[in-house]
């Protein structure tokens, strides 16, 4: 991989803009189909939000590794390699601690049913019928019910049950009660089938394996290559301009944010008025704050679970989840066995966050707020890891501004757009032939599994367009 566009060919069948899991997977599928593919990434590393970073003292932090559904095993096997699939292992300690309940589950179907019946005293037939309902949902179904309405139907008056059901998905994908029920149901049932999984070896390993596979399949990969424009000629996609250089392509798959694709990269003038208007109406999902806590070499922490959903709020409230007055935090605990051969521990605390709360602060206030986020996180963590301030020797915080800088996503959105973004994403090729988008739209196509799978769906559509 080089950091420039030196030596690129004048023309490719497909240019993929962005190397999130959707972009990577789409590039791989099309390269395997025999197309010439150029993959452009503005950052110096591949992966998008599937990323990691190293810090002095031997620390390594995974940004979004914590917990995907079993489907990722099948996705790696089907669209990548068996070797990748074999690195995926289950994490068994999914723990909740809040004023309404405190429990640990593996979050697979049997344990879920047992918890719902024994702990929450929900009748078995209600649980069964809820599970059956969500397992039969498809992303192409008509969507008329909100998640709130679905919960009201099965669990009226049970805001504790709703919290148990929604909180993990709210953190995984920014899901709220007001979103379409299928966007919740499909993701939840994906998890429920067999529980929660992680990639043994870390994010650096899976992205490294993907890079090797892409190269093997002939993909031309360029990092430090920022696309300024998607070129449209005669109403069709003709290529891209990246780092000031024009490169021709028969098709372009944008793994940038879908709104940014239409408005910044292509330009609204190339779309119908109605479509441009529909795109403007697509709501962005929220962003996140994270605090990365590195444990000093030689120190250990006791096993307290792999994923810990904590809150001091009396009830679950999506607005509150994103407020700067943080009451809810999710901790991902990374024990040494995540990276075989390592003896290091790391903890990543995540909260959903609003861009507006961080974007416009004066520099000194922004720094102070970040420090405040770090201090309050360590205080809150003390309850679960006594002596954390002595055990940790590196701490750093990320805000919506940080996510914006590294991903170029508008408002630093960490979960793409709401569900209506899917229609826009899928409709691009009808507006501008040869134009495609893959990336987080509408929760279902979000997260590691959703993003990779959406890359496959879009590669299939691009193949349909490119095939003579």
């Amino acid at each position: 991989m080089t950091d420039s566009l030196e030596g690129t060919k004048p023309q490719y069948d497909v240019v993929v803009i962005g190397s999130g899991l959707g972009g990577l997977t789409a590039a791989n599928m099309l390269a395997k189909d025999g197309y010439s593919v150029l993959l452009l990434e503005h950052h110096h590393k591949l992966g998008g939000l599937a990323t990691w970073f190293k810090r002095k003292g031997g620390h390594i932090f995974d940004v979004s590794l914590h917990g995907f559904p079993y489907g990722m095993v099948k996705t790696c096997r089907k669209y990548w390699t068996r070797e990748m699939a074999d690195c995926i292992t289950q994490i068994k300690g999914i723990r909740f601690d809040n004023p309404q309940f405190s429990l640990t589950t593996t979050y697979d179907t049997n344990d879920f049913k047992r918890t719902m019946q024994d702990y929450f005293k929900v009748p078995a037939d209600t649980v069964d019928s809820f599970v059956t309902t969500i397992k039969n949902m498809n992303f192409y179904d008509e969507h008329t019910m909100t998640t709130r309405e679905m919960f009201d139907k099965f669990f009226p008056g049970r805001d504790d049950v709703v919290r148990f059901l929604l909180e993990p998905i709210a953190y995984a994908n920014g899901s709220t009660l007001d979103d379409e029920a299928i966007t919740y149901g499909i993701v939840f049932s994906n998890f429920l089938s067999r529980g929660v999984y992680i990639f043994r070896g870390g994010t650096d390993k899976i992205i490294g394996m993907m890079e090797a596979e892409l190269k093997k399949n002939g993909v031309d990969i360029r990092t430090g290559a920022r696309v300024e424009k998607i070129v449209v000629e005669g109403g069709k996609v003709a290529g891209v301009v990246a780092n000031g250089k024009t490169i021709k392509a028969r098709a372009v798959i944008s793994n940038a944010n879908v709104k940014a694709t239409v408005q910044r990269l292509v330009g609204e003038e190339h779309f119908s008025k109605e479509f441009a208007e529909e795109t403007r109406k697509v709501r962005l999902n929220n962003s996140s704050c994270q605090v990365y806590i590195g444990i000093r070499k030689g120190e250990t922490i006791d096993y307290v679970g792999d994923l810990l959903f904590t809150s001091v709020a009396d009830k679950l409230d999506a607005q509150m989840l994103r407020s700067r007055n943080i009451t809810s935090r999710t901790y991902s605990f990374y024990y040494p066995d995540i990276r075989p051969g390592s003896d290091r521990y790391a903890i990543v605390a995540s909260t959903n966050a609003n861009y507006e709360d961080w974007a416009y602060l004066p520099e000194d206030e922004y720094r102070a707020s970040k420090q405040d986020l770090i201090e309050s996180t360590l205080d809150a963590l003390e309850r679960y890891v006594p002596g954390i301030r002595n055990k940790a020797d590196y701490v750093e915080a990320a805000t919506p501004k940080t996510f914006e800088r590294y991903t170029l996503h508008p408002n630093g959105t960490s979960f793409g757009t709401k569900f209506e973004g899917l229609r826009v994403s899928m409709g691009l090729n009808e507006q501008v032939p040869g134009l495609f988008h893959t990336g987080s739209v509408g929760i279902i196509m979000s997260g590691w599994l959703g993003a990779a799978n959406y890359g496959v769906i879009v590669a299939n559509n691009a193949d349909k367009y490119l095939r003579p």
């Binding site: 489907g71 099948k74 996705t75 089907k78 949902m137 498809n138 089938s193 769906i457």
Partner: protein
């Protein structure tokens, strides 16, 4: 293709998508997803493979026609008879 051949085509595709599943005693009138661990992406793979291998486009509105082996064969037979 004959009905039998179409049946083989579908089972071949499923065997490739879900290599861990035992397809030997699949019930042809019961939805795949009630007897196999197929999620919505596996199902889409069937649709995508039909296009790649045989050029058959199954529009979203018709996805439910592929719920069982019997209904799939009935749906695909007129579309695959000249292949």
């Amino acid at each position: 293709m004959t009905k039998e051949e179409i049946k083989t085509v579908i089972l071949d595709i499923i065997a490739e998508i879900a290599p861990d599943e035992d397809l030997s005693d699949i019930k042809s009138d019961v939805p795949f997803r009630d007897q196999l661990e197929l999620d919505s992406m596996d199902f889409l793979d069937i649709v995508m493979e039909l296009r790649k291998r045989y050029g058959i486009e199954v529009p979203e509105d018709d996805y439910q026609q592929l719920a069982t082996l019997d209904s799939s064969v009935a749906y695909l037979e007129p579309r695959m008879k000249d292949l």
